[in-house]
Symmetry: C2
Subunit: 221 residues, 2 copies
DNA sequence: GGTCAGAGTAGACAGTGCCTAGTTCCTAGT
DNA sequence: ACTAGGAACTAGGCACTGTCTACTCTGACC
């Protein structure tokens, strides 16, 4: 009814992106309980019903956040792994150079170390977001976030495959070993985000994890 | 002001326990978002302000739930580990019998397998509760839950020490290895509670985890 | 130029957590 | 036996939230 006395444009233009960015900040600084659609709307200078045009639910907003989180996390560990070897670790990397040994210090190993470290660093930087990404849903995760999570796992598989080609372990075990290392890294992150261990401890733990993992994985003949 | 027309006693007697039990059920069946102090009060047949006598906060209720969760989880993995070897695995167990080998199938190994399996089974049974126990707090966890979490970790350490005495790995590494296995098991659980893998996959994953862990841990000379 | 869907506004409603004042009961202490 | 006091509980109110609905504005397209 109000004739809207303001001079600002009726259409915000990119409300969705603004809401997501602000939500991410709130999540980081004050936790998920402090995330309110109405507050986000106020901060963006729109009415309390405006977010509904972009997110049908509060849950939809959270899903979008989780989805973005998975994409960012995948990018970061891919980048970290790629930075260790000269070329990238994207999909069909060059075949292994035949380096043998137990793999605990090969080129594949350093990529694994870098990726794991980047993963946990993400957890330190964005504890609430990672928590949201892996939170227990009463109903299964939505299509979009499941896809994004899948992409993260695919990235992990890529990195693990490259390490296998470098001789760190048998290529036939890549599937199961990827699952295992993913779980381990996620577990270390959970210990960090829940405040159970310090970041210093987590660094050492990542080191131990990779060392034991490589020794155990290559021991399987 | 109302003269309380009911005939039921004024004092509920054990409201606190009833609230916690009911809260646990709601958590299990409808997730943490469905947990409302007022609804719990209604279900218990008391006024909406009654819970405040026992839990100053909604957060306090959640803390109490998490605390109970830690205790139960610790009990379950201790029991599972104890059931593998004849005697219990409590604290100062009998010294190892000198069994050598790489430890991937020794007596300590089966205790580890049982404990890990019990942990993940707990996650399957109580996903939302486990999530709550390891949720990212903007402020550090309360005193009580930190203590309960500590007790869980101590239980893990006990089990790991017993396996070390059985020759699974060097006793000097127990501290770091406990942290590592705890993280791994928690990570597998997170994959389950977030609906990323099925329970069948989780069983196989636990198996792989223990195998790789023992191979890697004992490989460290 | 009219129309039509998307984006935003504004109001209402049920529900929640939290606070406060008052009431009831149990349990000491004398 | 009586009374003081504290713990447990009731009842009302406040601010806030998510969600629904009806309405309005705007730009783009025929």
């Amino acid at each position: 009814m109000g004739p809207m006395p303001d001079d600002r444009p009726f259409h915000h233009g990119n409300l969705r992106a603004v809401l997501l960015d602000q939500a991410e900040t709130v999540l980081r600084e004050r936790g998920i309980d402090a995330l309110s659609l109405r507050e986000l709307a106020r901060a963006a200078g729109v009415s309390h019903g405006a977010p509904r045009s972009h997110f049908i639910d509060r849950a939809a907003l959270l899903d979008a956040l989780a989805e973005r989180g998975f994409v960012r996390l995948a990018d970061e560990i891919r980048g970290a792994a790629a930075r260790t070897s000269g070329a990238g670790a994207s999909g069909d990397g060059a075949p292994g150079d035949g380096t043998s040994g137990d793999g605990t210090s090969g080129r594949g190993a350093s990529a694994l170390r870098a990726a794991a470290s980047a993963y946990v660093r993400f957890a330190v930087r964005e504890p609430a977001l990672l928590d949201l990404m892996f939170s227990a849903k009463v109903v299964g995760p939505s299509e979009a976030v499941a896809g994004a999570a899948e992409r993260l796992f695919a990235t992990m598989t890529d990195i693990m495959s490259t390490a296998a080609e470098a001789g760190a372990y048998d290529a036939r075990d890549v599937g199961r070993l990827t699952l295992l290392l993913s779980a381990t890294v996620q577990g270390i992150s959970a210990l960090v985000t829940s405040g159970r261990i310090t970041t210093d401890q987590s660094d050492a733990l990542v080191d131990d994890a990779i060392t034991v993992f490589l020794a155990g994985a290559s021991a399987g003949r």
